[in-house]
């Protein structure tokens, strides 16, 4: 559905994209991860033809964004982190103006959509009186009304409260189930990516350093915080179990490690064990490690 091929871009002599490529299949929710300034928004900007690519190409359903942006973007809806509406107009007027730019604004369909995003009561109010969550709902309505096949989300849950984040997540997942919508989700909120996406890529300093399924990014290897003395003996015993100590002091063992056996061996070796705490490794830990490993 979406094919990003060897994108390159320079801003003021600095290369911000260095040949980024990835593919998003129809009906897939694909996450683009990366820290601020990694190149995620530039990638999205190029996909939306707002930023000129220095090299490479973007195909949406086989249509090149660079060669025929109008045709390619007919299949696209987009939502940005802070959707900028015309604050002095009502939500309804905003929909009319923005959706009208994509073609025809149909009132009946718009009313249904407004109801679906839960804005019926406030759609006639000025957008300046809307909360951030309401703006995001209006953004969803304006993006979905032209019935796009692919939705591009640029950090859409930033600044939303937990309820708003859950509503948004459920809505997007519902869209995929109901319409087979393809979604490109650009975020640095890893928990969101973990819960929504099928596949992710990690972009760092303009390069794609990882691409794969979300569950591949998770690490199920046991991680333990061990406080014990003498540390040399601890190191020896942990080494026998193929444990590796991380820069933050944690010990990581192979997946098949039996932790009770490890404890027994430590005690038998005369280690004075003060603390042994199992740690759950978050996606964030893995993401940080992964991107670092791939860079160096």
């Amino acid at each position: 559905m979406l094919s990003v091929r060897k994108l390159r871009k320079k801003f003021g002599g600095k290369e911000v994209l260095k040949g980024v490529s990835f593919e998003v299949s129809r009906g897939e929710i694909y996450g683009l991860l990366g820290h601020n300034g990694a190149g995620k928004s530039t990638t999205l900007g190029i996909i939306l033809s707002m930023v000129a690519a220095g090299g490479g190409e973007v195909l949406i359903d086989g249509i090149s964004v660079q060669r025929d942006p109008r045709r390619a973007l007919r299949k696209v809806g987009a939502i940005f982190e802070a959707p900028a509406f015309y604050d002095y107009m009502s939500g309804w007027e905003n929909l009319k103006v923005l959706v009208g730019l994509s073609g025809v604004f149909e009132e009946g369909k718009a009313r249904e959509m407004v109801e679906r995003v839960g804005l019926s009561d406030r759609i006639g109010s000025q957008v300046s009186t809307y909360s951030h969550g309401m703006r995001q709902r209006l953004a969803l309505a304006q993006a979905l009304l032209p019935e796009p096949e692919i939705l591009l989300l640029d950090e859409p849950t930033d600044g939303l409260d937990p309820e708003g984040i859950k509503w948004f997540r459920d809505f997007i997942i519902g869209l995929r189930e109901e319409r087979g919508m393809t979604v490109l989700f650009n975020s640095h909120l890893l928990s969101e990516v973990e819960q929504m996406c099928d596949r992710v890529s990690i972009i760092r300093e303009g390069e794609l350093v990882y691409e794969g399924a979300v569950n591949e990014l998770r690490d199920d290897r046991p991680a333990l915080r061990i406080v014990a003395s003498p540390s040399e003996v601890l190191g020896e015993v942990a080494g026998c179990f193929h444990g590796e100590q991380q820069h933050d002091g944690r010990w990581i063992f192979p997946e098949e490690t039996a932790v009770p056996e490890l404890v027994k061996s430590l005690v038998a070796a005369g280690v004075n064990l003060s603390e042994l705490t199992p740690l759950r490794r978050s996606l964030e830990d893995v993401y940080l490690e992964h991107s670092r490993l791939n860079l160096r």
């Binding site: 900007g45 107009m89 923005l98 009208g100 994509s102 025809v104």
Partner: protein
């Protein structure tokens, strides 16, 4: 059809904003002030002057003549400020506020986006001139009544014209207002051009006004009088020739072809800059 609907949306955006109406309010107040000064202070002096110069008093002191003075004196300098303000905002403000990203994320070409915006500010300009003409005439009617023709005296352009017949006078003034509207589109085009650059909306308006006023000042420097034809503001002032008894159409057409060419050039330049820009947060 879709273009017209989209233009409707663009006009809705423009006319829903409060600042669009600043110019309308100021002109209403200004017209009322000008007329009350005329009635309270100026009328007697002008009538005496008219008698001394054998000009029929009822021509000089008529609602049509008053409308001509209001439009002729106020629109050129005061009106240009509002046209520069609105047209300087039209692209730059949306870019600054982030609305432009919402617009460009849609299947619409940048050329079309600009055409819609340009058409909207041109409509604003023309309707503004019409508004000033209609309200100026309306107020003059209330203050002076419907009697009298039209007296035109413009020493800078060497024009002196008298229209005792009210219908002809009205028609001439209407024609003049139309040409003045076209002239003022140049200020709008200047503001629009600067608005397409990567600058703040206020900077776009200031740049447009700077070009306009610099041109106006240069045009009035005595040693440049013989080169007046090269200045935009002189060409813009050619609207007044339509009020001359024998209209020099060759001169009027030449000026308006030049002004239209300038408008088109400014639009194309603005579009070229806009087309090459990257839009990011």
């Amino acid at each position: 059809m879709i273009f017209l609907r989209q233009l409707g949306g663009e006009l809705r955006k423009l006319f829903t904003r409060k600042r669009t109406y600043i110019g309308y309010v100021v002109f209403l107040v200004f017209e009322a002030l000008l007329l009350s000064l005329w009635v309270q202070v100026g009328r007697d002096q002008f009538e005496a002057l008219a008698k001394r110069n054998f000009v029929p008093v009822d021509l000089l002191s008529s609602s049509l003549t008053a409308t001509y003075w209001i439009m002729g004196f106020s629109m050129f300098l005061l009106g240009s400020i509002y046209f520069a303000l609105v047209s300087g905002d039209i692209v730059a403000k949306e870019t600054e506020d982030g609305n432009m990203r919402m617009v460009l994320a849609r299947p619409i070409s940048r050329l079309r986006v600009l055409l819609l915006k340009y058409a909207a500010v041109i409509i604003y300009t023309v309707t503004f001139v019409v508004f000033v003409g209609v309200t100026g005439y309306g107020m003059s009617l209330l203050a002076m009544g419907a009697e009298g023709g039209l007296f035109i005296w413009n020493p800078d352009m060497y024009i002196l014209a008298i229209y005792p017949d009210r219908d002809e006078a009205f028609w001439r003034l209407f024609q003049g207002a139309c040409f003045m509207g076209m002239s003022m589109c140049v200020v709008t085009s200047l503001g629009f051009f600067f608005s397409c650059l990567k600058i703040k909306p206020a900077a776009a308006s200031v740049m447009a006004l700077s070009v306009f006023f610099i041109d106006f000042v240069l045009q009035n420097i005595p040693f440049l009088v013989s080169h007046k034809d090269v200045f935009i503001t002189y060409r813009m002032a050619n609207w007044v020739y339509v009020l001359q008894e024998n209209v020099p159409w060759d001169r009027v057409v030449e000026s308006y072809v030049i002004l239209m060419g300038l408008n088109i050039s400014l639009f194309i330049l603005g579009w070229m800059v806009f087309q090459s820009r990257d839009f990011k947060t």
